[in-house]
């Protein structure tokens, strides 16, 4: 036990001296993950645009149109600014807005008199989505106005003619109201009841759809784990080059403790890296902290398993450069198929199925489940045992390789 702990301390002291490697193992996944998340998440907001309106009519109806662009969800997309014609022309020419709408003088009168009138809408050609929305909304408003004019034209005209210099008489308001009600009553039988039945079918209760950006977190965490596990595994070659493995083989019964000591040191370092990654992810995505420890334990154990297998693989190659090159090359397909660049859920099924069979994909898949499940500790016992078996077999293979000649050269 004494030599085991000494081995853990020895490797932690050596590995933590290499601050650059630690920064790279953490930094690259964060850089890539940050870019991907920001692309998917869009910073958490919707695109907004500016609609410039020059209201030259300044009437009740033009005011209604101006106000309509700021209603409900449309108001989240568009910021409406009233401007003069000159200012509007200048700003839309500079690309400083998504659209510029001019409501000409006499618009309301023309509307009520059913004479042609032209609204001018200029859109920004460098934008695609928001100008389209503005055009559609404007057309809908005009259609609505047409039908309102058809139905309630006389009443609107009567209100217009009454003027607003003083409060309207109660009898006038009552009369107009009755007329409008009569017209609505006459129309309603044509609209309601509808001539078709509507059957409301309740869809089966679906599991809550997880935040798509959250699905990137397991892959990003495993990317950091893969980098660190591969880097730490290369230490066997460094020890061999330093001659310490030969001295180790001459010591009595120290080999297994040496291997396990290295794995425990790797566990501590990988757990620290994973903890930082998960902390940031949990805060960013608002994941319940009750899932933190289970997630940390799962990924750290997976990290040690990957470390053990990388170490065993590296020791199979004839020299340090070949070992490093091959495992580094292996990293990228593993990350690609294992959900580090794209969530497994977003990959084609057959690729995702292959990815789940890769060791890192296996860890990513279960971690995704843990993060999106209603409760913590949702990963089943079989998965834990599988991961443990992978780790133990990797360590056994490493020990065998050390005994079978790697340490003696």
């Amino acid at each position: 036990m004494g030599f085991l702990l000494a081995s853990v301390r020895k490797d932690l002291r050596r590995w933590t001296q290499d601050k650059t490697a630690l920064l790279i193992w953490l930094g690259i996944p964060f850089l890539i993950g940050g870019l991907i998340t920001s692309m998917v998440d869009g910073g958490g907001g919707s695109p907004t645009g500016v609609l410039l309106i020059a209201d030259q009519d300044d009437s009740l109806l033009s005011g209604f149109i101006v106000g309509a662009y700021s209603q409900d969800q449309l108001g989240d997309l568009l910021i409406v600014e009233q401007v003069s014609v000159e200012e509007g022309e200048a700003r839309i020419s500079d690309g400083d807005a998504s659209g510029f709408l001019t409501i000409p003088e006499g618009f309301q009168d023309a509307f009520l008199d059913e004479t042609p009138v032209t609204l001018t809408l200029k859109t920004n050609p460098s934008q695609t989505i928001l100008p389209g929305i503005i055009e559609d909304v404007t057309e809908i408003l005009l259609d609505a106005g047409f039908y309102a004019q058809r139905l309630l034209g006389p009443e609107i005209k009567e209100i217009q003619n009454s003027g607003f210099d003083a409060m309207p008489a109660d009898a006038f308001v009552a009369g107009i109201s009755v007329d409008i009600q009569h017209k609505i009553d006459a129309v309603m039988p044509k609209l309601s009841p509808l001539l078709f039945d509507i059957e409301i079918v309740e869809p089966p209760p679906k599991e809550p759809t997880p935040d798509i950006a959250l699905l990137f977190l397991p892959g990003i965490a495993l990317m950091a784990v893969l980098f660190s596990a591969n880097g730490l595994a290369a230490d066997y070659w460094q020890e061999r080059d330093a001659g310490t493995l030969r001295r180790l083989v001459s010591a009595p019964g120290a080999l297994m403790q040496f291997v396990v000591g290295k794995a425990l040191a790797a566990l501590v370092l990988i757990a620290a890296i994973v903890a930082i990654t998960l902390c940031i992810g949990f805060v960013y995505h608002g994941v319940a902290w009750t899932k933190f420890f289970s997630s940390l334990l799962w990924v750290s154990l997976g990290g040690v398993g990957l470390y053990a297998w990388f170490a065993a693989l590296q020791m199979l190659f004839p020299n340090n450069h070949a070992a490093n090159l091959m495992t580094t090359i292996l990293l990228f397909p593993l990350m690609m198929a294992g959900g580090s660049f794209f969530p497994l859920a977003a990959l084609p099924d057959w690729i995702a199925d292959i990815g789940r069979l890769s060791p890192n994909g296996y860890v990513v898949d279960r971690l995704s489940t843990e993060l999106t499940a209603p409760d913590a500790w949702s990963i089943d016992l079989r998965s834990w045992l599988t991961l443990l078996a992978m780790t133990v077999s990797g360590l056994a293979l490493s020990t065998w390789r050390l005994r079978s000649g790697f340490a003696r050269k």
Binding site: A6, A242, R247, V249, A251, P252
Partner: protein
Amino acid sequence: MLNVEQLVKQYGDFTAVDDVSFSAKAGSVFGLLGPNGAGKSTAINCISGLLTPTTGRITVSGHDVVKDGKAARQSLGVVPQELALYEDLPAIDNLRYWGKAYGLRGKQLDDRVSDVLDHIGLADRARDLPKEFSGGMKRRLNFGCGVVHQPEVLLLDEPTVGVDPQSRAKLFDLVEAARDAGACVLYTTHYMEEAERLCDSLAIIDHGKIIAEGTVAELKAQLGARDALQLNGAFPADTTREAVMSLAPDIADLEILSQAEDALLLTLSSASQHLPRIFEAISRSGGSVSETSLRSPNLETLFLLLTGKELRE
């Protein structure tokens, strides 16, 4: 203490160690002297457990290194030819780590590490990293890591290769101190002056075989008073041998060890007295001498006598 019986180590068709046997006692230094590639390191690697012998038996403090390897290795200390250090750990932590590998704990470990640091002259640099040390200091620390657990048998595989004279002298002191403390030291080298100074007994090995064995005095006695005379120049193949050997009746122990067109190696007694006659004979045979090297009897001369080649070839 250390017994090697009929040790053979083969790699395919190549036999690196061929039927080697020797034994070394506690409180003594046993040397394995031979040129590079003679099989010294292979023999040491078999003793230390790095290699498994093809055949033969090795016991350390009575424990068979193959059948009872753990107990045998517990009694062994190894100072490998190449450095075996953690250059990114302080010197004291290197010693503590290897002490723990051999089961030292607590106060015993602290005391031993402190003693070894004093012994190897690194007490004032204990907290420094080996990567900041000179080559000689690293060699001393390498030695310290091999003896921190006070092994009964200490294997030193060419420990002075690439070491400056001052550090070499310090290493000699360390080896002698280990011997005086009762350790059995197996020391391999291809420097005959090291073997002459340190070894109580030794074996000369070449091509995997032991070609001579005994104390330094016994081995020198095999030479008698013969010197080795190395001549460089031009030596016609057909006439030189006949001309030189014509002197044999008058020069005691005259023998041609090797002959080439440009080199001639002779052994003879009192060589300095016979040089003019030898030069004259060579001249008569149509040859010429451009360079002469005369060596008095020592282990290197013995190696020349036994193998016909230089120890450091």
